[in-house]
């Protein structure tokens, strides 16, 4: 047994935090080592955005990424996943674009129940604190998003139910 391993400090608190702040709000935070100017650039230039928004470990890949980052401009992300028959689309409109400090956009793929996302960039010394705030139109909209199991547009509950129905059909066929 390596006793020294036990005495090592436990890892710092998680770098990315997510909190349900209220019935209608989710808040994600993370600090980045770099000036707000560069962090903001990585959120607003499509060629940079594409490099981090679809994490490789999730097997998701961009099919297309149209971003027009200015107040009133629109965006449309299309992703593919090997297990998904259909590509996933996310789209909306930028309501506010304040260089290096604030971005606000709508999420319209879910229709009326979509959240409005506000991202703020706060420079603190050599670091930039990013706070992403999703405000849903109602408690029900956020509850439904959670209940659907989806963390990014794929309704996993329905996929599971489909599986269940298929296997149910198969077992009836066998008996």
């Amino acid at each position: 047994m390596d006793a020294s391993r036990d005495s090592e400090p436990t890892p710092m608190k998680q770098r990315t935090t997510v909190q349900r702040k209220s019935e209608r709000e989710l808040v994600v935070t993370r600090s980045f080592s770099g000036p707000a100017r560069l962090v903001f650039e990585a959120w607003t230039k499509p060629e940079l955005l594409q490099r981090w928004w679809a994490p490789k470990s999730y097997g998701i890949a961009f099919i297309s990424c149209e971003v027009d980052v200015r107040t009133g401009g629109t965006y449309r992300f299309v992703f593919g996943h090997p297990a998904a028959a259909q590509p996933m689309e996310f789209f909306g409109r930028y309501i506010e674009v304040t260089p290096h400090s604030r971005l606000v956009w709508t999420n319209e793929e879910a229709g009326e129940s979509g959240a409005v996302t506000t991202v703020t960039f706060e420079e603190r010394g050599a670091e930039t604190l990013v706070i992403m705030h999703d405000l849903y139109p109602s408690k029900k909209a956020l509850d439904d998003a959670i209940a659907s199991g989806s963390t990014g547009g794929i309704s996993e509950t329905f996929a599971q139910l489909d599986e269940l129905l298929v296997s149910l059909g198969a077992s009836v066929g066998r008996s």
């Binding site: 770098r15 997510v18 980045f32 080592s33 770099g34 650039e41 269940l164 149910l168």
Partner: protein
């Protein structure tokens, strides 16, 4: 996790083996309903329908919420445990994104330093 899913899966199968319970799911798929409404719809006693709803609830297929004297049933898994699991999944997604974003920012910083040096030369 696998164990948990298997148990849940078995419970879901057992819950779906009954025609009334499949009917209740179908009904709730159209709209949320109270126990009283379901009892009337399926010509059952309150106790009888409660038993069926209980089985569906155990299987995580239905949730119920009591407001005043009315217990409302709706499709969906148990809330709190699901919410915590969902929030952790959501956190992991953003954490993975932000790890990649870290790299992009690092690269921009290096590039800026390099460009700055070039300009000074």
């Amino acid at each position: 996790m696998v164990q948990y899913s298997q148990t849940r899966f078995d419970a879901a199968f057992a819950a779906l083996a009954d025609a009334t319970r499949r009917g209740v799911l179908q009904q709730l798929g159209r709209a949320d309903a109270s126990i009283t409404e379901l009892a009337a719809k399926f010509h059952m006693t309150l106790t009888g329908i409660k038993k069926h709803v209980g089985v569906l609830e155990q299987a995580g297929l239905v949730t119920t919420q009591k407001v005043g004297r009315v217990r409302t049933c709706r499709l969906g898994p148990r809330r709190l445990e699901e919410e915590a699991a969902w929030i952790e999944k959501y956190r992991q997604l953003w954490d993975a994104r932000f790890d990649a974003l870290d790299q992009v920012v690092e690269e921009l910083k290096r590039k800026e330093k390099l460009d700055g040096r070039k300009q000074r030369q």
